[in-house]
Symmetry: C2
Subunit: 401 residues, 2 copies
């Protein structure tokens, strides 16, 4: 019987991502739509949610070498890149793969549903005019998208000049990103108030943060130790996680390392650090694929529980009289409803949504109009979880392994 | 008239310390005694308070190389030194200059009034049996006294085995010391609960703390960076000062640096760090002398204010009747008394003692038995502050300059 189900699903599936996309459309989405899962939590997934490449965002004070870092990895400039000792990059630039070299203005990107940036419209027109997409064909960009950002400012005065919610935008990207690189250089160690706010806005994504102490060949070894020590000293206080953040010390630039300043330590240490960082970067697509599968499975489980709750509520409604009263009672005793559903289907209490938030959305609906339990929809998802996804992973494995 | 006063004071003064000692006995102590300054604040100074050498205390987990560090500086073992990979030093050992090599047990040192350790008796017999003084003739010890300590333990269990107030003793030494060296090694970075308590007990003496990352040649450069970064990360959180603590990275040992592990960086960086640490150590006696003069001047000012307050209180007492009532009123309105004295003698409010603490001691005395204002005593101190001390500093300067 399993064979028949895969047949209906298979066809021209070409990758894990592609498989997930089709499983979503054929098996999970119908359940989500039937029980309005999207109204209660996350919006329905679109193709762009599956197709978007893993993202790496660069953050740091102006002139710490963010744009140069990307240039160094690509071994060429991206369209519209500006590099210079004064504050140069004045906008958020998504550097991604594309058929030919071009820059697309923010207002255009934000309306493209097939790009994962439609959510940015909430930050308004003055943000969108400081947002840009830079495309070019490049093997590295086939696997990773970079987000170059305007340098964080140090003066309090200048912050008020930002015409949009800078930390809000960063927080939005941080949630979508797979890695966040904080760049420092030996002469720009101080963490300004704006930088502190930026770092706070990364909260919840701490595990994605890596630090680069760039231009490390601009000081001698003893100074480098002082600089590095001072950086760790203050980062420990600001990041406030018990695990020490990984710092890569080096000079991420085309120019050869300045051995006159660093002594022989540079050539050796910096090269090893650079290699470590490259290995970590190359590891992102593999990790991102694993994470996508994980999150998909989590979403499917949540959608199932949601369906159980909704259909249970519907079942409790009387056929003719007293609908309003029952609805009120059900909402007031939602905790009991959750408990009953949990017992009936042997679920974990921890997998349930927040009672309060659920109540709030629920009160805007007429329970009587909800769907009854549709076993076929549930079974399709169970089948997907128990058979299709393991099969998909077996057939394609992680393409980056 | 100044000349006459100096004559009475001069004689065979041989150093700044010697001069302060004599000024104290001849000019300041009489004022302190007359107005019971010692009952209200700091005990009378003894010769040992002037003669004691600047002290450097070493702290750290067991086997981080504290005893080896002292041996390395002295270029020989001190009497009773034990070095080994297991916890070896099991007591507090004061390593100081002496006519010949010998160890003196804690119980004996604590009763010697000419040594600055009588205060340690409050920690009881079981501490004194874990306290020792190690003497030897040595040019370095002529300028600095070292305090070797038992390794800080990592297990919670072992703490309960200490038979005395370990952090209390460390806190006592910290107040007397001029520098506190915290030793770490790359394999003993974790800061245990006992170590955290030890560091807390240093509070108020943060400016004396220096950190040594010892045995740095036991790991390669990249590992060393990780280790050093992790150390700064956690020290920043624990020391909780905005200023970055100075960390000396090296291997403080007789054995040559293991270049195989460190690469050429070791020979260069470690040597420079070691030199910096030596320069800082050699600077201690000079700084200690300056500090002693400063503290002496502060004490003299405090003693003068104290004398003004006491004699003012005495003056307010009636000749015959109502003494008890007046005493009560004076104590109740001590704040007004302070304000009056302040105005009368043009003093700073900030230089006055705490009203509450003063009240408490005062209530145990009979104000009527206090001394009246004795202008000669005050004048002697004024003369000392305005003439003798500047003259002393001019004649002898700082012997370490
Ligand atoms: N590793 C490096 N070593 C030496 N100089 C560097 C290095 N990286 C960048 N630079 C120089 O530093 C300056 C700033 O570089 P870049 O414009 O890439 O910084 P940025 O962080 O993107 O600044 P902004 O925030 O203003 O966009 C340029 O002059 C660049 O040549
Ligand atoms: N710089 C160094 N490089 C390599 N080994 C060292 C170094 N310093 C000390 N050692 C070794 O480490 C071990 C512990 O040294 P030592 O006894 O001086 O430590 P300690 O901090 O005094 O320990 P304890 O707290 O137990 O008294 C010894 O075997 C010593 O030889
Ligand atoms: Mg830039
Ligand atoms: Mg020892």
């Amino acid at each position: 019987k399993g064979a028949k189900k895969t047949q209906s699903f298979s066809g021209a599936v070409t990758s894990v991502t592609d498989g997930l996309k089709r499983l979503y459309t054929e098996k999970l989405k119908p359940l989500e739509v039937a029980y309005r899962f999207n109204d209660f939590g996350s919006p329905l997934l679109t193709n762009s949610d599956f197709d978007s490449k893993p993202m790496v965002m660069l953050l740091g004070q102006y002139s710490t070498g963010k744009t140069t870092f990307i240039k160094h990895l690509l071994r060429c400039n991206y369209p519209g890149a500006h590099i210079g000792p004064e504050p140069t990059t004045d906008r958020f630039i998504v550097v991604m793969s594309g058929p030919d070299e071009r820059s697309i203005p923010g207002n255009t990107i934000a309306v493209h549903a097939e790009m994962p940036f439609t959510g940015l419209t909430t930050f308004g027109g003055s943000f969108l005019s400081k947002f840009e997409c830079s495309q070019m064909p490049h093997p590295l960009l086939d696997n990773i998208t970079f987000v170059d950002t305007p340098g964080v400012l140090s003066g309090e005065k200048q912050r008020t000049q930002r015409s949009y919610d800078f930390t809000g935008v960063i927080s939005w990207f941080a949630a979508k990103c797979d890695m966040i690189l904080l760049l420092f250089d030996p002469h720009k160690l101080d963490i300004s108030d704006e930088f502190k706010r930026v770092i706070s806005s990364l909260r919840g994504n701490d595990d994605k943060i890596r630090v680069v102490l760039n231009k490390a060949d601009q000081v001698d070894t003893q100074q480098l130790m002082r600089v590095y020590g001072a950086l760790m000293w203050s980062l420990g206080k600001i990041l406030n996680t018990p695990e020490v953040v990984r710092v890569y010390i080096g000079s991420f630039n085309d120019k050869p390392i300045d051995e006159a300043a660093t002594g022989p330590i540079g050539a050796d240490l910096f090269e090893r650090e650079q290699n470590d960082l490259l290995v970590d970067l190359m590891d992102i697509p593999r990790k991102a694929c694993d994470r996508r599968v994980n999150e998909f499975v989590k979403r499917a489980r949540a959608a199932k529980i949601h369906a159980y709750i909704i259909s249970h509520l519907k079942k409790e409604m009387p056929a003719l009289m007293g609908k309003a009263k029952t609805q009120r009672k059900l909402i007031d005793n939602l905790e009991d409803v959750f408990a009953k559903v949990q017992r009936e289907f042997h679920l974990h209490a921890g997998d349930f949504p927040s009672v309060e938030e659920f109540k709030e959305v629920l009160s805007r609906y007429n329970i009587d109009e909800f769907e009854k339990m549709k076993h076929k929809l549930i079974q399709a998802v169970d089948n997907m979880l128990g058979y299709d996804i393991p099969e998909l992973l077996k057939n394609f494995r992680n393409p980056y392994d």
